[in-house]
Point group: C2
Chain length 610, copies 2
């Protein structure tokens, strides 16, 4: 079995009891790893996730809450196993109390946008899992401080609606397996559940509906008293929500939040609301504006235990988007940032795409204290190695570090992950780390240019299709013609830019000062527009695409030369070759697309197919 970054850890005993507490597990982990050492663990429940770690000669002293002790133990063990120095005194608290992984697993065993095989939890509309793998997953999550796992797809397909009804006992048994690791479950619920239960409405202001949710919450918490809460996608991409009853999303979220409050449950409400039946002809609608328009007016109207979960960008996990203006504007509402580990638009765990540098950029514009929680869509699946691409494990690892401390340095996170995962010489470690650090920019170069996004094959979201979504319902248009490309989102255009604080408005408004890599997100520009370094826009597009494909080839060569152990070597080589093909295809399709439109040849005379 793959142990991932825990590979130097002792194997977890298969008889780990389900009622072991996290602090007891902390002791077990430490003593199992270093039976000769002296560990002094002091439980101080009020400390919660916090721990204080002191190296006192031969004694390792850790003080912390139930989970604090466990995180302290893993911090110590990871440093030891990675051969990284620890300070003699370390106090550590997570930046966010909720550090969540959202699984998009369906009970039929499929995983929406999953690239690592089928569900770890479900098959054939039943729970179906290997308890040892679940414990391993719990240990992986806890080792990087993650503490909530939302178990099922936000698109709640039958019979997953039954997770808060007839399937509760089975869910509770799964929760038991995660509990020693301090990982609490969360459930995606369907706003229309009362209809399923026979009520004639799901209206949040209907007392019968309110009573139904109260009873449902009571049932759920009697089975799983430490459930983290519910996650909801409503009025989005075809799912029913408060709008059906003429109610606001505050009214909808509060309905569920009030039912959960007696049990200290949180209600996480996704703000992924937009018109997914847009008419491409209608240029008065600009999809990135939708979430702000829906939620900004509701600021302050939510119950205390509501958390609005907002994607990092205003679209949907594209390679490069500016920060969502909604994340910057809500002042009286608890917010969770939603990231996506699953590489839906970012190479599908075939192309190498390491995310932590991207997250770091995000936090330059997003003050860490605006958030109450952080979540990421899972990249896990039933593949032997859990992640499909062995190197995709680094995204889960570094997400844990980021959720603990958004100021994490990407290089350090990757350094630690490599040290823990592979027994490499220093030179190989640096080579791998550098390629991982570059991987997002490489992928960006050969795909949709300069913040444009979406030039991807519809449905599958892998490979190029410059106009695949251009005449479709999804609001994701480039409107490229023979003269220009992009949508003007300034105040003179759709006005999207006015949703930002003044500083960002200033940064992005002028096409000359707007960073090149976001120019086509904010502006409609002619092909001969001069970029920061004087190149024309069209030449920049060509250059990026030739460079990106070339760098993907170098990346593949480098990865194949590194001493990965079996079977990672094969898995990585296979994917590296596919990435090289994918990059070439992107390069040629995008270059040809723009060349056919613009008629402008490549200044360097490289091959652009007619």
């Amino acid at each position: 079995m793959y142990l991932h970054w825990l590979k130097n850890f002792p194997v977890l005993p298969s008889d780990t009891p389900v009622d072991l507490s996290p602090s007891e597990l902390a002791r077990q982990e430490l003593e199992m790893a270093f039976p000769e050492k002296d560990f002094a663990l002091t439980l101080s429940p009020a400390l919660g996730d916090t721990f204080v770690l002191d190296l006192l000669g031969a004694t390792v002293a850790i003080t912390g809450g139930e989970t604090g002790l466990l995180y302290g133990a893993y911090t110590y063990l990871c440093h030891m196993m990675a051969d990284e120095p620890l300070p003699n005194h370390l106090e550590s608290s997570p930046r966010y109390p909720l550090r969540m992984i959202d699984c998009w697993d369906n009970m039929d065993g499929s995983v929406e946008r999953g690239y690592a095989g089928r569900s770890l939890f479900f098959e054939g509309n039943l729970f179906s899992y290997d308890p040892a793998r679940i414990r391993h997953l719990g240990r992986l999550l806890a080792s990087v401080g993650l503490n909530v796992l939302c178990i099922n797809n936000v698109n709640v397909h039958e019979p997953a609606q039954g997770l808060i009804a007839e399937s509760l006992p089975a869910l509770s048994a799964l929760a038991d397996l995660f509990r020693p690791f301090g990982v609490r479950l969360m459930i995606s619920v369907d706003f229309s559940m009362p209809l399923r239960a026979g009520l004639d409405s799901a209206d949040p202001l209907d007392p019968a509906v309110q009573a139904w949710w109260e009873a449902a919450a009571g049932r759920v918490y009697s089975e799983i008293p430490d459930l983290a809460g519910f996650l909801v996608k409503a009025d989005s991409e075809g799912r029913l929500g408060p709008f059906t009853y003429g109610r606001s999303h505050a009214e909808g979220a509060n309905l569920l939040a009030r039912a959960l409050a007696p049990y200290n449950g949180v209600l996480v409400w996704r703000c992924f609301v937009y018109n997914c039946r847009q008419d491409w002809r209608d240029s008065s609608v600009d999809r990135p504006m939708a979430a702000f328009e829906t939620y900004q007016p509701l600021d302050g109207q939510f119950e205390k235990n509501v958390i609005l979960q907002i994607k990092n960008g205003p679209f949907d996990f594209q390679v490069r988007e500016p920060v969502s203006p909604l994340l910057l504007s809500l002042k009286h509402t608890s917010l969770a940032l939603e990231l996506q580990l699953a590489q839906e638009y970012t190479g599908q765990q075939i192309d190498l795409y390491t995310m932590v540098p991207m997250w770091q950029e995000l936090f330059r514009d997003l003050p860490a204290d605006r958030l109450s929680a952080i979540a990421a869509v899972s990249n896990l699946g039933r593949d032997e190695n859990l992640f499909g691409h062995p190197l995709a494990a680094a995204n889960l690892f570094s997400f844990g570090l980021l959720a603990w401390n958004p100021q994490v340095r990407p290089e350090m996170a990757l350094e630690s992950w490599i040290r823990l995962t592979y027994t490499f010489r220093e030179v190989d470690r640096q080579i791998l780390k550098n390629w991982m650090m570059s991987s997002r920019r490489i992928y960006e170069k050969y795909t949709a240019p300069l913040g444009l996004g979406w030039m991807i094959t519809p449905h599958t979201h892998y490979g190029p299709n410059p106009s695949g979504y251009e005449y479709d319902l999804w609001g994701t248009y480039h409107r490229a013609d023979r003269n220009a490309v992009g949508i003007d989102r300034t105040a003179a255009g759709t006005g999207y830019i006015t949703q930002y604080p003044q500083e960002l408005q200033v940064r992005y408004s002028d096409p000359s000062s707007c960073p090149d890599l976001l120019k086509l997100f904010f502006h409609r520009l002619p092909y001969d527009f001069r970029m920061e370094d004087g190149r024309t826009l069209i030449q920049r597009i060509y250059d990026d695409h030739f460079e990106g494909a070339e760098e993907a080839a170098e990346l593949a060569k480098a990865l194949k030369a590194l001493p990965f152990p079996a079977p990672d070597d094969q898995e990585i080589a296979l994917r590296a070759d596919r990435q090289v093909s994918n990059a070439k295809e992107w390069r040629d399709v995008i270059n040809t697309f723009f060349h056919r439109l613009s008629g402008i040849p490549d200044a360097k005379g490289r091959t652009i197919y007619p």
Copy 2:
């Protein structure tokens, strides 16, 4: 139950015995319909499908072979029920001995490119049908002279491979139901069958493979002695074939033909062979040339009982293609023309698309005597009305008439079909007939322009996507850029045109004399190219699309005003509305696509969205 064009016929008794001969059925049909009349039927087996019909005062005298008597009876009955005059003396023989419907039904119950519901024959990997419906289908087919039904998809997915093995008894029971109607079954077989049976090869020159097919044919014919034969798709779109073993398609086809010969079975071999893994960058390959290149050199090498089945055009059932040059060039090989009733690219039995005018055009370039057989891909399914769109039934009806006599006049075929199907006043009949006659041209106007084809949504093949297949593997490129569109297929271009006889080369070579409606099939033309009437190419594209959408709206209005009985009225109105939406979408997407490229405004100032 829908009786379609047999609606004035008496209901077929549910106890029709399976061993009733076609001539006995002929008598039963006549006496059931007109118990008071005097019928003199004379069986003359050597006449086969031929019949002679004489109206001798009160007596109707028919002489014919087994099936000839049946076709004579249906001819008489259809004329009576349609209230159409019959001459006093009529001798009639079908132009082609094999008049075939090819079903693309899979045993899992799905129908490849089916638009009328699931399979009439299969469900859940088993035979599953209503015997009364099967008899009704047999009667429908016989009533228009069709005599072969290939029961399963040419892409033979498991367990349909078993149709010539373990499923034979079930297939034989189905054959029994069709036999009284003179309809013989045919089976699509998989060239790789010997591998399934445990042989280590399917090489046509391997004696063990030959012996296996001989034994298989023996088994099949011992169960179904009148089976028409086998249909094969090999070396096409991923299916194994002779190329795997370095053998020619003559060697492959002859292998099976020799096994069938002792039983008078025919081997129908589809010529749908092309490179479906083409690199879009490679302009040296031109897909329409592929079939000719593969089969022309093999002319004369096929066994007598081989029939090569060739699609009407060199691509794949697009709205307008020139005749396949292969149909015109093979001199020493039996040929079947393959048409497609299933409206894969032609509106999917949502948009009205009546085919017989299109077939008539084809036979202007295709001498009828070049063919030995004629086949059409089925448009049938399990929908209550068998066809999805009630008016799509006219395509099966008129295909039967065409297969009997390719000189059939489209107006007359439609007139008869309407008379038999609906009790309309003369004025309504003419309205409907005229719209049906115009329907193909209307659809053509609002879809891909002027012979270009393929600007359709990938996979589903409904709705516009101008570049959906442009960077794909299928060889179907328009290569539109800011100056021009199309592929030069003249001698100076890909050379495709040289596959034609001299007369057609002359007709198509010069872009000025090449008919407008095929201009973009044969030529690459600038947007300001002058068409026959002096308009520019781009203006012609805009005009056609505005007109097409307008005409679709008029068509819908007209259909909704006609007095169709329930439930046809609802079915037709529903589809008419969808056609109007579809036509608008096509109009706007195609016009915008070309406007973005060309930058040329519409001369009439109509709305083209930016």
